[in-house]
C-alpha cells in the first residue's frame, strides 16, 4: 500500500467538511433562492451598514495585528535572547491561554473589564474613578490582541531562536552599535517570522466573531458576526445566498493577503503554518 493512502481518513474528512461545503457556498453565492444564476448577492456589500461592518473588521484586525507586533516582537526577542534561563517556562506561560477555549478567555476578560469588574473594583479601592471599557472599540481590540498575541510571538520566537548568534557578533564586528544590530540584522533576518505572525494574527482577527459582540455588549459587530447574523437571524429570504456571498468575499480577501505576504517570504521560512 502506498504511503499516500495513510492520509485517506484526512482526505475523506476534508472532502466531507471542507470541500463539499465550499462548493455549496459557491453555489449559493451565485444563485437566487430559486436557483437562477445571479450576481445580486454581492451587491449587498454596497449597503452602507454592511460596508461599515466590513471596514470596521479590517480596521480592528489591522489595529490588532499592529499591537500584537508591537508587543509580540520585543517579547519574542527577549525570550530568544541568550542568558535568560527561564525561557521554557515563559513560553509555556504565553501558550497557556491558548489551551483554553476562546469563549472562556473572552468571558474571563469581560469579568475583568466589566463596569463592576475586577479592574474597576481595583480602581475604586485606590480612590480613582471607574472607567468604561466594555462596549468600546478599545475593548474589542484588546480582546482580539489578547486572543491572538501568542500567534505573533511564537513564529517570531522560532525564527529568532534559530538565528545563529554569531551573525549578531558579525554585525557588531562590522561596526553596528546595539541599535543598528537590531535594525540592520535582527529585524531583517526575522522577517519570515514577522510575516508568519502577521498572517496568523490578521486572518483570524479579520474573520473573528463572538469576541467583539461580547466585549462591546453587542454594539460593535465584525464581519464574522455579520455572516453569523445573516445566516441565522435575518429575515431576508435570500439570507443563505447573501451569507454565502459574504463568506466567499472574506475567503478571497484572505487569499489575497496570503498571496501578498507570500511575496515577502517566498521560502516560507517563518514556520509555514498557512
Amino acid at each position: 500500500m502506498k504511503r499516500s493512502w495513510y492520509a485517506s481518513p484526512y482526505a475523506l474528512w476534508m472532502v466531507l467538511f471542507a470541500v463539499v461545503p465550499l462548493v455549496f457556498v459557491c453555489w449559493y453565492a451565485f444563485t437566487t433562492p430559486q436557483g437562477a444564476f445571479t450576481l445580486e448577492n454581492f451587491r449587498e456589500f454596497a449597503k452602507p451598514r454592511y460596508a461599515a461592518i466590513i471596514i470596521r473588521s479590517l480596521k480592528h484586525a489591522l489595529y490588532c495585528t499592529f499591537l500584537c507586533l508591537l508587543i509580540g516582537y520585543p517579547t519574542a526577542y527577549f525570550l530568544a535572547g541568550r542568558g535568560f534561563s527561564r525561557t521554557q517556562s515563559l513560553v509555556v506561560l504565553i501558550l497557556l491561554p491558548m489551551w483554553m477555549n476562546l469563549l472562556l478567555r473572552t468571558y474571563a476578560m469581560m469579568t475583568l473589564l466589566d463596569d463592576n469588574g475586577v479592574l474597576n473594583a481595583a480602581l475604586s479601592a485606590i480612590g480613582l474613578p471607574k472607567i468604561k471599557v466594555i462596549g468600546t472599540e478599545g475593548a474589542v481590540v484588546m480582546g482580539l490582541v489578547y486572543n491572538y498575541l501568542p500567534f505573533m510571538v511564537l513564529p517570531i520566537y522560532t525564527v529568532l531562536k534559530k538565528m545563529d548568534y554569531s551573525v549578531i557578533e558579525a554585525a557588531e564586528d562590522l561596526g553596528c552599535n546595539p541599535l543598528r544590530v537590531v535594525t540592520r540584522v535582527v529585524i531583517p533576518m526575522s522577517l519570515p517570522g514577522i510575516v508568519s505572525g502577521i498572517t496568523m494574527v490578521f486572518m483570524p482577527a479579520v474573520t473573528s466573531f463572538a469576541i467583539s459582540t461580547l466585549l462591546s455588549n453587542g454594539k460593535l459587530r465584525l464581519a464574522g458576526d455579520l455572516i453569523d447574523y445573516i445566516f441565522n437571524q435575518s429575515s431576508n429570504p435570500n439570507r443563505w445566498n447573501i451569507g454565502s456571498s459574504f463568506s466567499l468575499m472574506m475567503l478571497v480577501l484572505i487569499l489575497i493577503s496570503i498571496g501578498f505576504l507570500r511575496k515577502v517570504d517566498p521560502d516560507n521560512e517563518g514556520g509555514g503554518m498557512w
Partner: protein, 360 residues
C-alpha cells in the same frame, strides 16, 4: 616585512567562565603585519583569547593594549579589528555585494574620503569590486548567500571583513569546514593576501600543519596557558616541552635520565645528545621525531625491536616497533615486514631533551 612595533600587547590576561578558568595569565605581544597563529587542541582557550581581542569577551583580569592604549571595555564596533567567524556568519537576507558592503554602508561619507552619499556609493562599489577580485569571486555580486558553496561563503566572509581595511584581522578556524584540497589552497591564498595587504592576521586553528604553513609566529596553547611562542621552524625543531613536541608533528616521547651534559639514558641505553644545563640524574622527557629514527641491521642498532605494524602513508611507511616496554613510531620510505627484528639508530642532534612537564 614585519614591523617591530608592538601593535597589540596582552598582559597577564586570565578569563574565567563561572568556576572554570579558561585562560591563565596569558602574556603575548603581536607586531604589525605579523601572521600569528594561536594553536592548540579544542577547549584550550585559543578561541576565547581571540574573542577577547575582538571585544566579544572581557578578560577577568589583565589588560589588552592596542597601540599602547587599553582596549578593555571598548565594544567590538569601535575597534579597528574585524573577524572572520568560524561558521562565516554571513547575512543571508543580503546578497553577496551587500554582505561585503555591510561594514562600509555603516560609515559616514567623510570616513571614506567622500563628499556626498552618491560619491560614497561609488566608492563602496569600487572597494567591493576590488575585494571580490582579491577573493576571486568576481561576477557573484547579485548571488544569494544560500546559493554559495562552503568555500565560496568562506571567501565572502573574508572579503566582508577585509573590505573595512582593519588593522588586525581575526580568523577563527576559518577553513575548518572545507575539504582538504580546498583548505590547502585557501591557506596559501590567505597567506598571499596577508602579505599583499600588509594587515596583521591572528589566526586560530587546531591544525598544526596549517599553523606551520602560514604563520610568522605560532603560539601553542594548552589548558589555557601558553606553552611556547616561536616561529614554525623553531617550534617544530625545538619544542619546549613534551606537549608541544607531541602536538606539533608526531613524536616519540619517552622517560629518560640526564646523566651529565650531552649524555642521556633511556631504555637502559646511553645516548649522546646535544642538550646541556640539566641537573645530574634529572628525570627528563626525551622526544624523538618518527622521521629521525633510522632503521638499520639488528646487530648495528643502538636499540633493537620487533616491527608490530606497518601502515602505508603515501610518501612513507609508518611502523610501530616494540623495543622492551616502548612502542616506537618510525617513519621510513623502506618497508620492514611485520615480525622483523630491526635495529634503530638516532643521531645526537635529533634527540631532544625536555624538562618533565609540571602541572599542565
Amino acid at each position: 616585512m614585519i614591523d617591530e612595533t608592538r601593535l597589540i600587547e596582552i598582559k597577564g590576561v586570565s578569563k574565567s567562565f563561572g568556576e572554570t578558568q579558561v585562560l591563565h595569565d596569558v602574556n603575548l605581544y603581536i607586531r604589525k603585519r605579523e601572521f600569528v597563529t594561536l594553536l592548540g587542541p579544542s577547549g584550550c582557550g585559543k578561541t576565547t583569547l581571540l574573542r577577547i581581542l575582538g571585544g566579544f569577551e572581557m578578560p577577568s583580569t589583565g589588560e589588552v593594549l592596542f597601540e599602547g592604549k587599553d582596549m578593555t571595555g571598548i565594544p567590538p564596533y569601535k575597534r579597528r579589528i574585524n573577524t572572520v567567524f568560524q561558521k562565516y556568519a554571513l547575512f543571508n537576507h543580503l546578497n553577496v555585494y551587500d554582505n561585503i558592503a555591510f561594514g562600509l554602508n555603516l560609515k559616514k561619507p567623510e570616513q571614506l574620503g567622500c563628499q556626498s552619499r552618491a560619491e560614497m556609493k561609488k566608492e563602496i562599489m569600487r572597494r567591493v569590486t576590488r575585494m571580490l577580485k582579491l577573493v576571486k569571486m568576481e561576477g557573484y555580486e547579485k548571488r544569494s548567500i544560500n546559493a554559495l558553496s562552503g568555500g565560496q561563503q568562506q571567501r565572502i566572509a573574508i572579503a566582508r571583513a577585509l573590505v573595512n581595511e582593519p588593522e588586525v584581522l581575526l580568523l577563527d578556524e576559518p577553513l575548518g569546514a572545507l575539504d582538504l584540497k580546498l583548505r590547502k589552497q585557501m591557506q596559501l591564498e590567505l597567506k598571499a593576501m596577508q602579505q599583499q595587504l600588509g594587515i596583521t592576521f591572528i589566526y586560530v586553528t587546531h591544525d598544526q600543519e596549517e599553523a606551520l604553513t602560514m604563520s610568522d609566529t605560532i603560539v601553542v596553547i594548552n589548558n589555557g596557558r601558553i606553552q611556547q611562542i616561536g616561529d614554525p621552524k623553531g617550534i617544530y625543531d625545538e619544542p619546549k616541552n613534551a606537549f608541544v613536541a607531541d602536538f606539533i608533528g608526531e613524536s616519540n616521547i619517552i622517560d629518560g635520565t640526564m646523566l651529565e651534559d650531552d649524555l642521556v639514558r633511556f631504555q637502559d641505553t646511553e645516548f649522546q645528545c646535544v642538550d646541556e644545563g640539566f641537573e645530574k640524574n634529572e628525570p627528563v622527557d626525551v622526544v624523538i621525531r618518527p622521521e629521525d629514527i633510522m632503521i638499520v641491521g639488528e646487530d648495528v642498532g643502538m636499540l633493537t625491536g620487533v616491527v608490530e605494524s606497518v601502515i602505508f602513508k603515501g610518501v612513507h611507511y609508518e611502523m610501530m616497533i616494540r623495543s622492551s616496554d616502548y612502542q616506537w613510531k618510525v617513519q621510513s620510505t623502506a618497508m620492514q615486514p611485520v615480525g622483523t627484528r630491526v635495529g634503530m639508530t638516532i643521531v645526537p642532534y635529533n634527540i631532544h631533551i625536555m624538562h618533565k612537564m609540571k602541572e599542565a
